[in-house]
Symmetry: C4
Amino acid sequence: MSKERLEAFSDGVFAIAITLLVLTIGQPTKYTDLAHQLGLRWPSLAAYVVSFIVIGIMWLNHHTIFTHLDHIDRGLFYLNLLLLMTIVFIPYPTGVLGEALRRGVGARTAAVFYTAIMAINASVWAALWLYASVGRRLLRAEFPEAQRSMATVLFIAGAFVYTASIGVAFINAYLTLAVQGVLALYYALDPIARRTRRQQVASP
Amino acid sequence: MSKERLEAFSDGVFAIAITLLVLTIGQPTKYTDLAHQLGLRWPSLAAYVVSFIVIGIMWLNHHTIFTHLDHIDRGLFYLNLLLLMTIVFIPYPTGVLGEALRRGVGARTAAVFYTAIMAINASVWAALWLYASVGRRLLRAEFPEAQRSMATVLFIAGAFVYTASIGVAFINAYLTLAVQGVLALYYALDPIARRTRRQQVASP
Amino acid sequence: MSKERLEAFSDGVFAIAITLLVLTIGQPTKYTDLAHQLGLRWPSLAAYVVSFIVIGIMWLNHHTIFTHLDHIDRGLFYLNLLLLMTIVFIPYPTGVLGEALRRGVGARTAAVFYTAIMAINASVWAALWLYASVGRRLLRAEFPEAQRSMATVLFIAGAFVYTASIGVAFINAYLTLAVQGVLALYYALDPIARRTRRQQVASP
Amino acid sequence: MSKERLEAFSDGVFAIAITLLVLTIGQPTKYTDLAHQLGLRWPSLAAYVVSFIVIGIMWLNHHTIFTHLDHIDRGLFYLNLLLLMTIVFIPYPTGVLGEALRRGVGARTAAVFYTAIMAINASVWAALWLYASVGRRLLRAEFPEAQRSMATVLFIAGAFVYTASIGVAFINAYLTLAVQGVLALYYALDPIARRTRRQQVASP
């Protein structure tokens, strides 16, 4: 199985999922007082922005992981498909959350729903990493062992942190969006890549 | 005609078709009692999951077949276009089936419709394989002859099995989804690739 | 400007436009008597099939033309953008035609609209070919001169034939779909590629 | 981080955003007197055409900038993500503007909204260029210094010109579309590429 073609397919799916987010912002139904009508939709815009950042950073994370893989196998293909399934789904809770906030009805439920999807997604990331890295199954030979254990800790912690963040959704839906935006930075800080680089600098 | 560019085009179509599936899950119309409203849509979610797996595995199957092709010609292009036409169509019966199950009306018809599309799709897969492999028209020289006849049997059987699975749709629509999920494994088991690999191991 | 990156971008646009066609088939609104409801939508399905074939063959045609280009320039980029604009638009008249046929109202207007878009598209194809080929501006050195004049005749004739086909739309909307499907074969026969191949066989 | 994979991802996003524009043109709701109904939607068509040209030229601009980059880093990734976020959003104000013009209600607000998005977009372009070029952070060694300062002036001016063009939206919504179409030529003239080429011709 060609790693390059799976990357290209995944890139396509990421690109489409991130672009479909724009469809989650409902068009105004009344055009009198349009500025006000558009203003009412700012929660949808906020949800759009957060989900866009989230998917964008997931793409980067995907790219980083695949950089460290030597090859792929069927197991990774299925975990990757499961991962894409949770990512492609993101526009749905994004639309629900934006609309619930606009209506001022059901926002807590929508926030829990949104965060739960992110927690499932974080768990699939952890599963994919574990599958690829345990026993160095698919890792490149030059990927440092110290990095492997560190990344494993971080991916597993990520699954727990995202699950814990469901608690925030019970407090406030706007806070949920803010927290999810910040949590995306968790993956954005990219511990694998940074430490590998430092290692590379140090190793010779 | 460039095999690489047809693969890239097909990959794009697969990626978009699989992503559009998320649009088949209707947004809630009422936000009071949102948890209940979302729960009512679990059949749409189930249909989304099954169709996502189905298209994902079809992509893998497509990838595998093309790996064994030496080159392509106009006939293959047209069969591939026909194949893509039936795959791009999948979100439509997926949406209909999810909605029929949610309403509890028309579920049997929707299940027959969904399965019929899958049966047509399986027939086009068989046609594409036969076109490419009969007389080894487009196969790579190193593709083993024993594998060719085995794959031919499996693709033709696939068309019959999928057609027969329409019978399940008359029994129960939920069972239909389960059976389609399982049937996807038919292609997932990937007899071509596995046996080729075994052959490669054995041959030297 | 990189020819490869423009091809990749165009491929993406073709792949998405062809996939969005599925959204032109309206979901049933009533689920009692679902088989009948789905049956009523067969004109939308027919329009989907024809437009799918049309866009698929246009992709092939695009691929063929670009194969014969040595390089690209800004003029070609803008003509290509104009071409993509008319192709991306195709789902719109496709949806209108399918819906008009289903309702049995406005079918003639919808058929004229559909055909007019195809005629505009055929004219842009001719313009793109003329731009690339007149004075051999962008053609590869090995592209035979005899082929160039033949292709020029065929592209210009195509623009006229498509324009003339608007007349069919005034007669019958179903006939329009049939004619458009047949006309797609005009490009499918691919006179450039075939004759070039024959030439290559003859030349040594 | 691979420049090629970020280009491919960005190309995908551009291709999808430009294609989703077709969904901004609302389907007719009445099919009696269809020609008149379609005619009423010409503002949506005009908005489609302008936004299509705008996104197409932005793709070209993106392509040109990346040609001059030696490598990319995380900062550029995030600015590129922000840029894509504003581009993916374009179908939304496009749909609002087309619909407001069709209804003859809220057109001024919609035009201001549309232009404001374009101004934000122009500012992000300037930020991305500044990030990449200040201190020649990411530029190729062979990119001429004179070009760098010229391009910097032009990108910053672009942000101001687009912001100033919001004023036009207060005058007339149709004029706004025309001005935006013309302004797209600002980037289309591609000062970076042209001058570089001239430089290349002159330098030996």
